[in-house]
Symmetry: C2
Subunit: 392 residues, 2 copies
């Protein structure tokens, strides 16, 4: 493949379709950083999902220690919920020795999830929500254990890296008596403080997340939040996270010219518009052909393969970039912490992942190196705790 | 040591001196993130030194490849200066395949420095500025090669992590034909967009940088910028950087009560005020004693040991926090990228470092694990390049 193979797929067309796309000015009006802004911790749903993307996201996974039973897991979740609630309202955690680092919340959110091992180790196999299961293996995967799996997820997001770092450490201390650390994945993005903020870009330069359901709509609720159909009552109001660590092969991606990059994606890089449209949110016309009868959006482009085939196979993308610097050979160690949230993983996520794993031009320049799934329980009230419906 | 030893040093006193310090409210009015704000690349001095601290700082070190001679080093610096100037004015680098990531500068700065090996390998030993040399070994050091040394420094700072990441990658590509990567150190802080912004905190919770010379003053220029006294004309307008990676032993630090922490530092944690004062910028009274005749600020506290003994041993602190997550044992892998800038390293930095290495209560909870020094040449004009006075 590389450039030659790609061009074989659709260049005659795409090349004509692109025109002046590369010179369109990008106008990103970013919102100011608001250090005092709180995101409520308590509520029907956990924060950090419908919350507009913050500047920093840290995902940490932990494995339950041997001997942690239901009673201990309940204590653990009470402690985590209490500390998370404090931190999110800009108060120090219990036993917080650096209380000043909690005083500027900057849209801090703490989100908790349970991996498959949580249910197994606690003997809760019969309470696993419908549609929640590990992903199958894909041929494109080159998964590393150090970025995969985990019994308990803590997702901490916020606009101030110092505040996020402090919250992660306090929560890591809280869970340590019950769990061992499995991995930490740290990401960043350009913050969105409202649902109308511009869609952020990833490190390949692409606008990423255009087709997301819009926060606050019924559509969002249908796509993201589980209802009684989950098969287990406790999960109503929860959601399921698929977190994939996707390395970007920037060396070879950079060998592609901008037209080649746009054909691989199916969108213009400068504006995010589909190759058949003018604006980011224009609906792609996957059937459009040029004067030679070739598709304008290549059939194996990312958006053609990812496009949902019905209302059921959609999800919320809420991804962060990662950048761990320069590897020994001088190449970049960076990519995407791809985070997909949906009410039912098996029904909504798997069909799309299956199509992309089978055929997606972007697979040439991306390699999944980590993978984990978590069931995120619904939110809780001030007198409750996360997971109370499951553990009680 | 630990808590007991510390208390032996000065608790009778300090305990009384602290009072309500822990409950003082912290009022941090942060400035908004300004995506369009440019910091000029060209000028008498390089950016990223007098520039108010940005939210993100990445330091990368590179070693010259064998065979790189003066002519090649000159080409290298022309290319780096050209790309840096473009990125800082929100234009893509030459050969930039993700040009959109350069469009929101967010106070991006690129700062270049030369390590001792740069001068040696290029046969420029007789042009080393007076006062520039590697640090001696200190007993407190546990230096690791992977965080130490380097022939060429690229320091990239800005308020948008995505923009910083992109700039680092573009510049790393630019230098790769001439150098091999040595290390990358990534840090963050709460941004200061003006010299009057509140002094940021480090991960121990301390306000860090109170005694800095104030940007824009003659004092700043005297402390930071080299003049003709540097012994080599080309270095006038430059400065010298000491970068120390200092691991914080948060587990044991957290075992200290807040009073113990304040005695170790010599300042109140909540306000940054010296134990003899009320406000952050109050002058510490190192001779003050309590009614028992014991010093209010312990003699081995950090500020007592670091306090300058004359005008000559001062420098600019412009440090970033680092946080690499949780180590295998569950403890935190975090600390400070301590960055000190001064006109003359030997004269200004060494006396302070010598006193601190000899005796500083904070040494109990901090371990230097990396160390590097760089001579940062003066700025250049639009037709020139960084290091032109040295290389021409």
């Amino acid at each position: 493949m590389r450039r030659r193979g790609l061009l074989g797929v659709g260049l005659g067309v795409g090349g004509l379709a692109l025109g002046a796309g590369g010179t369109v000015a990008v106008d990103r009006a970013l919102s100011p950083h608001e250090p005092d802004r709180l995101i409520p911790f308590h509520g029907a749903h956990q924060g950090g999902v419908e919350t507009p993307l913050q500047a920093h996201g840290v995902f940490t996974a932990h494995d339950l220690r041997d001997g942690v039973d239901l009673a201990a897991a309940t204590r653990l979740m009470r402690l985590v919920s209490d500390d998370a609630a404090r931190l999110c309202r800009a108060e120090p955690a219990v036993n917080d020795q650096e209380p000043e680092l909690a005083r500027t919340p900057s849209r801090l959110t703490v989100t908790v999830g349970f991996g498959p091992g949580w249910f197994e180790r606690l003997g809760l196999q019969d309470r696993v929500p419908t549609g929640f299961a590990d992903l199958p293996s894909y041929e494109i995967d080159q998964l590393q254990r150090r970025w995969s799996g985990g019994d308990l997820l803590l997702q901490v997001c916020g606009d101030d890296a110092l505040v996020v770092s402090h919250a992660v450490r306090q929560l890591s201390k809280t869970v340590r008596a019950f769990t061992t650390p499995r991995w930490v994945q740290r990401g960043f993005s350009t913050p969105m403080s409202t649902p109308d903020s511009p869609t952020p870009r990833n490190l390949m330069g692409q606008i990423d997340g255009t087709v997301n359901p819009r926060s606050g709509t019924d559509d969002f609720a249908t796509v993201v939040w589980a209802d009684r159909d989950a098969g287990v009552d406790w999960f109503a109001g929860g959601t399921m996270l698929v977190l994939r660590r996707i390395a970007m092969l920037m060396e070879t991606w950079d060998e592609l010219d901008p037209h080649g990059q746009e054909l691989a994606v199916g969108r213009r890089i400068a504006t995010g518009a589909p190759l058949t449209g003018q604006q980011e949110h224009d609906q792609p016309d996957l059937n459009a052909t040029d004067h030679s009868g070739l598709p304008v959006i290549p059939k194996f482009s990312h958006i053609a393969r990812a496009a949902h085939t019905d209302r059921g196979d959609r999800f919320l993308r809420r991804s962060y970039n990662y950048d761990e610097g320069v590897a020994e050979d001088g190449t970049a160690d960076l990519g995407l912490l791809f985070a997909a949230y949906q009410a039912n993983l098996t029904r909504q996520y798997l069909p799309v992942q299956g199509r992309l794993a089978q055929q997606d031009l972007l697979n040439e320049w991306t390699v999944p190196i980590g993978s984990a799934v978590f069931a995120l329980p619904p939110g809780c009230g001030p007198d409750g705790f996360l997971g109370e419906g499951l553990l009680r």
